[in-house]
Symmetry: C2
Subunit: 345 residues, 2 copies
């Protein structure tokens, strides 16, 4: 079997998975949102690691911006290492995990429920231990994911979490309606990504950056590249980049910037100016205008709501990580040193 075949198939499956979330998933998502609205939490905590942590981080922005509600990311170790039993009344704890099996997530979610939180598992395995300890469960409906790097479960998590927040505020999921078809269009442009990837064949480092909803995309892109190509990839929020790490960036280090339509994309513009001043090699994944102003890039379809564009913008970067890995002779399906379920406590 050729290297990366499983990952490539799972990346290509995403339009089907996203359509399934919208066609089959929405009724359950709305039912869960109804329970959440009735219980009226005042604070949302996300409990996740790895790729699921990046999906959660996107959802944290949605909760903060669309619901105006404070949100945070848990440190599972407070429960599993320090044995804390926090006061979580009025908190919604959303545990996000592809497998639903990481022992630390299961344990910390169980403790959160005992400590008064409303608990919701967002997982690809609805009969997983995580789902069984949670009061509510959302199946992200991605189908079995066999490759070690999570791809289709990531975008399924994003769309599920978006639809949950949208239903929570009384939306009808209108902004997401065209996303599966747009995803198919983005994935059909694999040749464009292959040409970009060729430029990174010999890079030893990579920096990704974005702001707002797209900062989690920058983090997930960096994680994919690290997992599959063992390239040192740093993700920085556009703002944090100026607080120190900018010193590290020079003409030797390629930068991939997310600049979708909307306020987050607009806010990254001054960061891109600073990067240009430092001679950074810049590639932009984003709006037609932002891509046109950069030496290299991948233009996203126009007219997509900025709240849902992270579902699309990660796709060329998943492919990019795959291309770099294969070009270097690695098998993206089975990165060295990793297992599909991570047994941390």
């Amino acid at each position: 079997m050729s290297a990366g075949r499983v990952t490539a198939a799972e990346i290509a499956e995403q339009p089907t998975v996203l359509a399934r979330v919208l066609d089959e998933g929405l009724p359950t998502i709305r039912a869960v949102a109804k329970v959440v609205v009735e219980r009226a939490p005042r604070f949302v905590l996300f409990n996740a690691r790895g790729t699921s942590d990046n999906a959660s981080f996107y959802a944290k922005y949605l909760v903060e911006v669309l619901l105006g509600m404070p949100a945070g990311m848990t440190s599972p170790s407070t429960t599993t290492v320090y044995g804390v039993r926090p006061d979580l009344r009025d908190c919604l704890v959303v545990a996000v995990s592809q497998s639903g099996s990481s022992p630390d997530l299961v344990e910390s979610t169980e403790v959160a429920r005992e400590c008064g939180a409303l608990t919701l598992a967002v997982t690809n395995v609805p009969d997983s231990p995580l789902a069984s300890v949670s009061e509510l469960t959302l199946d992200v409906l991605a189908g079995p994911e066999l490759a070690v790097p999570a791809t289709k479960t990531y975008t399924a998590q994003l769309l599920t979490l978006w639809a949950l927040v949208d239903a929570w505020r009384g939306g009808s999921a209108a902004e997401a309606r065209g996303v599966p078809d747009l995803a198919a269009g983005v994935l059909a442009r694999a040749d464009e990504v292959a040409r970009l990837a060729a430029r990174y064949r010999f890079a030893s480092e990579l920096v990704t950056t974005g702001r707002g909803y797209s900062f989690p995309t920058a983090r997930e892109a960096a994680l994919k590249v690290m997992e599959t190509s063992f390239l040192s990839a740093h993700a920085w929020s556009g703002a944090d980049l100026l607080h120190g790490p900018l010193a590290m960036v020079d003409e030797r280090i390629p930068v991939i910037a997310l600049a979708a339509e909307g306020p987050g994309g607009a806010a990254i513009a001054p960061v891109l100016d600073r990067l240009r001043e430092r001679g950074a090699d810049l590639c932009v994944v984003g709006s037609v205008a932002a891509v046109a102003a950069a030496p290299y890039g991948f233009a996203l379809p126009a007219g997509v709501a900025d709240t849902v564009s992270p579902v699309l913008e990660i796709m060329p970067l998943q492919r990019l990580a795959w291309e770099i890995a294969v070009a270097r002779g690695y098998d993206p399906d089975q990165p060295r040193g990793l297992a599909k379920v991570t047994e941390t406590r």
Copy 2:
């Protein structure tokens, strides 16, 4: 003036600064804690960037573990980029900033106060814009910091935040009493750090890791190395490292692990085993036992409470970043591309 002279002086000043926090700062810290207790917040949000974000992240663990209270890190962009006015009643927003001048922190803290939060500025400039928009202020008493890389303000922030949480739960700051003298002892061992630094003279990447209270130390150490030596340094929580980034680590990449006495240090042990299996070049900053089991290391003084050991454990790593930068011909006082006050919005 020789390269790095200002940073070196500020690193060396830390025992004096820490003694000042305990001798002069405690009455105000206790008065602020009293107001916080009276107002009885149920959630704590930290608002910070860069080094101050690492100090805040440590304080997040303290709030979660010592107070059993949920806590989170804000994304300032939700206010400054997306214009959100969140419902922050019952929230304490702690804005941490050396200069108190970053426009996005000032604006987001001002909005937080308008939206019902109790606001507290923790800053080295008590007449700064950040302090003026906040209801409460704590001066970290580090004295003027002239070098671009924050060093003495970082440990002053850590100790101030620790003392605040300690006073909040009715403590008498007992665990910190010996810290200034112990800091002087740690800093006196500069020759040990110089020997370690020589090993990293030609490294192009570095990984740092820790768990619990020491994970923020890992992040701050990575940031210092990036700021001063332009070395690609990644900080991972011990648990997250196993969720993907481990694939990147091999015998070419030095790993610096934090392993102080206490549950966090114990929890990093299985991660160190996995790193050894992968042939990583391992240096441990931590307990005498953990250092003895590693090929390279720096032993911390015994018997320090794990809640306060982050104040000490960063010091050899500040010196390490300084040594690497100077060995490479850079000036740690003035890293290229950086300004002392970062003007992000």
